[in-house]
Amino acid sequence: MMNLGPHADFIVASYALTAFVVAALIAWIVLDYSAQRRILGDLEERGVTRRSQRKSGA
């Protein structure tokens, strides 16, 4: 284990905080993605289409 010196608490706090913020950001983006995909899937299942899809006959 490295010797972090007299300010070890501050160093550990900085790294822990950064890890937490980055993890929260990643989790939010991943969850948001699956939520949007789910809603889109639901809407498509109910036969709702966007105008651009209709034009191309999709």
Binding site: L4, Y33, V48, R50
Partner: protein, 257 residues
């Protein structure tokens, strides 16, 4: 023209699908390398001040927090002047990522300052060290939060985009203030050290520390763009959901009329 290609959201989604695995893989590798280098630096170089370990997070976070606002300013021009269809998607997706990095920069800077500027003592007030650099970075963080709040408060996306774009372009003034806050009246308003990397006489850092810092900066930059791309993809999907719901509502209204 790739720039014009990306104006098409479907093409952008296809690009994001291909690029995201590569970008996230590259970020992981860069982070692994940065952590290895940070622990491998001979500790004699830290000269009793191991708090320099905080720099490997603090400095890249500062660059990216400021770069985020600069990117949002370019996107703001894209919204207001060129009316690029994805400009405001890009701006909206940057705000939370930029805010997170600015928050990391601020809190690590505050912890670092507390560790090396404050002599000691246990008064809670001593935890409130706010010099010119810390205050201006806090202001940038507040600006990010204002943009996020503005975009959420206005329901119609194109109006929200215009309001946020104007605020972003006014707020860009904070960037030079942050940059020069350590040069004006050094010692009177700030305890922050001056620029030690980009200097006319070369970087003032020992080689192993400099290399570690650059690798850490690369890792955080890759992470930034990975998250930004993924957030843009979410925003495009969110807009599709919105337009489909509007379409559905219109059909229901027509059916009942």
């Amino acid at each position: 023209m790739p720039f014009l290609d990306f104006a098409n959201p479907s093409r952008f989604l296809a690009f994001a699908r291909r690029a995201l695995p590569w970008l996230s893989g590259a970020s992981l590798i860069a982070f692994a390398l940065a952590i290895y280098l940070a622990t491998a630096v001979p500790f004699a170089l830290y000269e009793q001040s191991q708090t320099i370990l905080i720099m490997f997070i603090h400095v890249p976070a500062a660059w990216l927090g400021m770069m985020g606002w600069a990117l949002m300013s370019v996107s703001a021009l894209g919204t207001l002047v060129w009316r690029h269809p994805l400009a405001d998607v890009a701006a909206k997706a940057t705000a939370p990522v930029g805010a997170a990095f600015t928050f990391i920069c601020f809190t690590t800077g505050w912890l670092w300052g507390r560790a090396s500027w404050a002599g000691g003592g246990n008064l809670p007030l001593e935890y409130m060290i706010l010099d010119a650099r810390l205050s201006s970075v806090l202001m940038l963080l507040i600006f990010y939060l204002v943009v996020i709040a503005l975009v959420r408060a206005i329901d119609e996306p194109s109006r929200a985009a215009r309001v946020a774009a104007i605020f972003t372009l006014v707020g860009v003034l904070i960037l030079p203030i942050i940059k020069f806050s350590v040069d004006w009246q050094q010692g009177k308003y700030t305890l922050h050290q001056r620029e030690s990397l980009i200097r006319a006489d070369g970087p003032q850092l020992d080689m192993p520390i400099l290399i570690t810092l650059l690798v850490a900066a690369l890792a955080f930059t890759l992470l930034f763009f990975t998250l930004h791309l993924a957030a843009m993809r979410n925003e495009i999907l969110r807009r599709r959901v919105r337009s489909m719901r509007l379409m559905q509502a219109r059909e229901l209204a027509e059916a009942s009329a």
